[in-house]
């Protein structure tokens, strides 16, 4: 592997001398196309596994194996094409290097080399994409938590707007969603009550992959209904998107292969670490009172994570919902902790900031009727359609997903560079 890149660099020096525009362009392509050894090693390892498993399955069929083969296939194919192109590159370079090659052939080879280099560029990108590990929670349902931030009452009202936006968006996209928790700031009821915290559960598999890019701070700029002088205010609402574990027995469970009882799973929570508190009746309890208080509070002692649920009349259900929420929060925290290290490395090298809950991701400007996403840079001017969860919102979300995909490939490449530099 190491030899490959070394050779190509040598060749490069050789052909650089007859400086022509074409060749200079080629020069830049080659640098991009040469893969970091670590990334290449990983691709080769996967291709070997693919071939080995393919041979095995020919004899015995196993659902798990064939699933793995499916995962590896893309990498194996992309690698093969990239290697083929790479090989023809070296051949061409060999020709150019050879002093006995006549001038005509030399010209031809230089031409070919150029187009191969362009193809190699595309193939390298494809290989990188195929290597991109699928987000581990991609196929899961999710929870969307919406909480007003700075900006007081106006933030609470906008939080309600976002809640409606996502609910409408989900139903438009055919994603099943239910309102898991709805706390109003002061307990007021009805459509426009200011929101303190809302949690939507989007039960459809893949909802996390679809919506995870929505996490972050959403900013609104508008004249609040309560504002008498007509001044524009800026407020913020935080949106948190958590992968959610389907309740046992539901369709998704086999799919994610997450086992609540498997201590290595992100969703494993040791019941001994969780303290349950239920609201107790005042006084003697039992037959003496007929309380309706069914609140349940769970505390994860090692991390001091507290969730409480009191919306339902059923204590049993409140408990189940609280567990769902606790599992999701802890899984997210575990994942974030794991990523923290890598993120620090990335920041040092390419200055890519982590896009997390603390970052301002989007602005909704009512005065200009526009919505701008600060990550993908997209701006759309049909704010109403966005707030109704319509096609414009879809456009924004898709642009962010693309942006995120590109960033992740970039990071993967950088990660490998860091890795190979450290070696």
């Amino acid at each position: 592997m190491f030899r490959t890149s070394w050779i190509s660099r040598r060749c490069l020096e050789m052909i650089r001398k007859p400086a022509s525009g074409r060749l200079r362009r080629f020069n830049s392509t080659v640098t991009q196309s040469s893969f970091s050894p670590a990334l290449l090693a990983r691709a080769r390892g996967m291709a070997i596994e693919h071939d080995k498993l393919s041979k095995e399955t020919a004899e015995t069929f196993d659902a798990k194996t064939s699933k793995r083969i499916g995962e590896l296939k893309g990498v194996a194919e992309a690698l093969k094409e990239w290697e083929d192109a790479q090989e023809s590159m070296s051949e061409l370079q060999g020709l150019l290097k050879d002093p006995t090659t006549d001038a005509e052939l030399r010209d031809l080879a230089a031409d070919d080399l150029n187009s191969t280099a362009a193809a190699l560029d595309a193939l390298a990108k494809r290989l990188a994409t195929s290597l991109m590990p699928k987000h581990p929670f991609e196929d899961m349902p999710c929870l969307i938590e919406i909480r007003p931030g700075a900006g007081g009452g106006e933030a609470a009202i906008f939080a309600g707007d976002l809640l409606r936006m996502y609910t409408a968006y989900c139903s438009r996209k055919g994603l099943r969603s239910t309102l898991l928790k709805y706390d109003t700031a002061d307990g007021a009821q009805g459509e426009n009550a200011p929101l303190a915290e809302a949690i939507i559960e989007v039960e459809s598999p893949g909802a996390y992959g679809e919506l995870r890019s929505e996490a972050g701070i959403h900013r609104v700029q508008r004249v609040p209904v309560t504002e008498k002088q007509g001044r524009t205010h800026t407020s913020a609402v935080s949106v948190l998107v958590l992968p959610s574990l389907p309740t046992s027995g539901s369709e998704g469970l086999e799919m994610h292969e997450v086992d609540l009882n498997d201590p290595t799973s992100d969703y494993y929570v040791n019941p001994a670490d969780v303290r349950t508190d239920v609201m107790r009746a005042r006084g003697a309890g039992g037959q003496h009172v007929n309380t309706t208080d069914s609140a349940v509070r769970l505390t994860h002692i090692p991390t001091n994570t507290v969730v409480s649920m009191q919306d339902g009349r059923s204590q049993h259900q409140n408990r189940a919902k609280a567990w769902l929420l606790l599992r999701s929060r802890l899984a997210q925290a575990k994942k974030e902790a794991r990523e923290e290290e890598v993120v620090a490395l990335r920041r040092n090298v390419i200055g890519v900031a982590k896009m997390g809950r603390g970052d301002k991701v989007r602005t909704y400007n009512y005065g200009q009727q526009r919505v701008s996403d600060h990550r993908s840079g997209i701006t759309v001017y049909n704010l109403d359609d966005v707030m109704e969860g319509g096609a414009e919102l879809n456009k924004v979300i898709q642009s962010v997903k693309e942006w995120l995909g590109e960033r992740e490939i970039e990071m993967l490449l950088t990660e490998n560079e860091i890795y190979s530099k450290k070696k």
Partner: protein
């Protein structure tokens, strides 16, 4: 009852003019808010296609009823109990959260029990003073998947309770489970030799009897005013067919009359048996432990608190000494149930 603070009422009024009505019963704002939300969604779901104006009028009416301390469960007509939804109606006691907690815990223990695990026959459950049927229906629901299945019998003397429990069979159970439960009109205090004989075969005897002293001041206004005295106060029956024996009157208070009967029904047994009796206070728990020690001398006795599956607080004792015997106390909260386990090869006393 202390008067509500003026500021609290004003705060509630500012949120909704209906909240102060509920606040008079719930005494705290979060509960009042929850109740208002449940009442509102009940109005919307139960009586759809009403004009907004009519809906509001209905809601106001329901809040007024609640203000008069009528239990929310009677107004809404139901109470969740474990995974079940139990219908509630005036004249029958409302299922309590503590009852739900120990029923659930008992079912878990039954499923884990080594000697019952291998048992291929049906597990038999007797629910004395069955009321709405909440306990027996939940046990049936939780135990029906065990290998041998389960059969449940409930006894009560209240016609209204018997009617409601039968209604709850249809309302809360799937068609395949309904054949495994039966409610009978039987007086627990007047149990006959035949009843005693019948009771022998039960693996679980569970009873939430009336246990409150008539003068007890800790009974809430709503309970005293709206729930049936027959379900709460045993004193009215103390002079009936039942006369406490002299020996028992030494340990027993008048509100304990049911426990002796329940224990008597449990004495004859040739199978492993669990007897669970709900109690109303620590003092009553201790008296019931004394009684149980007399009737079931071989049995292992323990006390369960309100939340038997929860970790105890540091100030909660894990055992208690009664007549020089140590009994373990499980869970967290107030003393709520006395549990006796009788092993298989034990002669009836």
């Amino acid at each position: 009852m202390p008067r509500l603070q003026h500021a609290l009422l004003l705060q509630a009024y500012a949120l909704s003019p209906l909240l102060p009505l509920l606040l008079r019963v719930t005494r705290d704002l979060p509960s009042a808010l929850n109740e208002l939300r449940w009442l509102r969604s009940h109005v919307i779901n139960a009586i759809p296609k009403q004009s907004l104006h009519r809906q509001h009028a209905t809601l106001v009416k329901l809040c007024r009823r609640r203000q008069a301390a009528e239990p929310l469960q009677y107004i809404l007509g139901s109470q969740p109990f474990g995974e079940l939804d139990i219908r509630c109606r005036k004249g029958v006691l409302i299922p309590r959260l503590e009852t739900e907690a120990y029923s659930q815990h008992l079912a878990e223990q039954a499923l884990e029990s080594k000697s019952w695990n291998g048992l291929k026959r049906k597990l038999r459950v007797l629910d004395l003073c069955s009321g709405s049927g909440c306990i027996s229906l939940l046990l049936l629901h939780l135990l029906r998947r065990r290998m041998g299945g389960v059969d449940v019998v409930g006894w009560d003397i209240s016609k209204q309770a018997l009617a409601l429990s039968n209604e709850n069979v249809r309302h809360s159970l799937g068609p395949e489970d309904r054949g495994h439960v039966r409610y009978e009109d039987r007086d627990v205090l007047a149990s006959t030799e035949k009843d005693m004989h019948n009771a022998e075969a039960f693996d679980i005897i569970i009873c939430n009897p009336p246990y409150i002293h008539t003068e007890d001041s800790s009974v809430s206004r709503s309970v005293r005013k709206w729930e049936p005295g027959l379900a709460l106060f045993p004193a009215s029956q103390a002079t009936g067919p039942y006369q406490s024996s002299e020996a028992l009157s030494v340990v027993c208070a008048v509100e304990d009359i049911f426990y002796e009967r329940v224990l008597k029904l449990a004495t004859a047994h040739d199978v492993e048996k669990i007897v669970l009796m709900e109690v109303g206070s620590k003092e009553q728990a201790i008296r019931v432990v004394q009684l149980a020690a007399m009737f079931l001398p071989q049995a292992t006795l323990e006390i369960w608190r309100d939340a038997p599956d929860q970790i105890s607080e540091s100030y909660e004792v894990a055992s208690i000494l009664v007549d020089d015997q140590n009994y373990s106390v499980k869970g967290s909260g107030l003393f709520r149930a006395v549990v006796a386990r009788c092993n298989q090869h034990q002669n009836p006393s």
